[in-house]
Amino acid sequence: MEIGFYPGCSLKGTSSEYAQSTLALAKAFDINLVEIEDWNCCGATAAHNINHELATALPARILALAEKQGLTEIVVPCAACYNRLTVAQHEINKNPELKARVAEILQMPIEGKVQILNVMQFILKYISDKITDKVTKPFEHKVVCYYGCLLVRPHDILQFDRLEDPQSMDDLMRKIGATSMDWGYKTECCGAGFSVSRTDIVAKLSGRIVKDASDRGAEAIIVACPMCQSNLDMRRPHINSYLQTKIETPVLYITQAIGLAVGLDRDTLGLKKLFVAPSFA
């Protein structure tokens, strides 16, 4: 089976292990993820912070390319890209004027009918049912699931999971044998795009998250967003110096955790690319 794939910039750079593990996981379930040809950056926070039209046009090009390539469904693992793409498509569809304007900017027709799936939706739709049979090495660890702020919001547009206290990731983790714990920071913000410009804020916000996880004895924090991952993982030195402790709870992508459970190896899943190395794999 073939489904479209939009990696986005992070997955090509800082978060290449997320792309790696997503592709590997799909392959393990006989799904071929086809990259959208000549895709561009979605504009992320930057565009939408300072130029609304640009923030719509950049994702629109991606969607238009997918349509051109005949893709009806695309998987977007980065929660930020997923959010931007979904919101842009929603806005285009509810506002015909904007749709026309965007088509004019792009010099390309756009339908606005592509199904956009985040990694969770992708797993739930195509993999979840078959997981139990495939688990060879149950992921028997205590974990907390960190959804971040973008995966479930804005809820009236995304319509994904429960707004407060979402459960889909927790359910998946339980399926692969993990103990998924209740905690206080499921959907609190990690500092998102401030990673470089306001590292102090990221250290504080991500610090609270990491601390709560570690206080509760989590062996890993499970995420589905490269931005969350890099803030919690790559910024760990900042976090630790802010907290004045040394927390070594690793931050794994959900695709890596599931990958391990179904027997994929460390390298395929890019585990060595994590800054805070997991002790168990």
Binding site: C9, S10, K12, G13, T14, S15, S16, D38, W39, N40, C41, G43, A44, T45, A46, A47, H48, N49, I50, N51, H52, E53, L54, A57, L58, R61, E104, I105, L106, Q107, M108, C149, L150, R153, P154, H155, L163, E164, T187, E188, C189, G191, A192, G193, F194, V196, S197, R198, T199, I201, K204, L205, M234, P237, K272, K273, F275
Partner: protein, 185 residues
């Protein structure tokens, strides 16, 4: 902008009727960055409600609008369903437009600019380029020197940018949406 009009303009541009806010504070209570803001989100709402040009200008000059990380916590929980994130977007655009960006927030803007420049020239984010661009703009030359080598080692920072083939289309998108190159500040 004339005194009477900004509430109406905001409503027209963002759909947010600032007068719907009844100052419960739930947004500020849940906002990730409220304690770092000069005006927490519910205060921003109150200031705009006054329909007072001074207060409007204070918001445009505030750090708050740049500190907002668009996490949507406020909108998610606001009993009145007020779309503060969109309002913040709008205020940032306005603030840029009239050149009253908060001094302490120049770094945040520099980062956004550097980011967009990377996208403008390559169609994608080129992270080394981004960091380099940001450093030039923010003059924070030493920042992240400790992280970068680790990233190289782990194969997370490609040396050469990936480039979109249809660069023309990308630069068209930028020029047509009015996102002009600002150059290092």
């Amino acid at each position: 902008m004339e005194k009477q009009g900004y509430i109406t303009t905001i409503k027209g541009k963002t759909g947010v009727n600032v007068n719907r806010c009844y100052q419960c504070g739930k947004c500020s209570a849940g906002c990730a960055v409220a304690e770092d803001m000069d005006y927490p989100p519910s205060m921003v709402m109150r200031m705009l409600q006054t329909n007072d040009e001074d207060n409007y200008q204070s918001v445009l000059k505030s750090e708050s609008i740049w500190l907002c990380v668009s996490c949507q916590n406020c909108l998610t929980r606001c009993p009145m369903q007020i779309d503060i994130p969109s309002l913040m977007d709008y205020m940032r655009e306005k603030s840029l437009e009239q050149n009253s960006v908060n001094k302490k927030s120049k770094n945040i803007l520099s980062f956004h600019r550097a980011f967009l420049d990377s996208v403008r020239y390559t169609g994608r984010l080129y992270e080394i380029g981004l960091v380099a661009g940001y450093k030039v703009r923010s003059l924070k030359l030493l920042q992240d020197m400790n992280v970068a080598p680790g990233m190289f080692m782990k194969g997370k920072l490609p040396i050469l940018p990936e480039v979109v083939k249809d660069k023309k289309q990308i630069s068209n998108i930028f020029s047509k949406t009015g996102e002009v190159h600002s150059g290092p500040k």
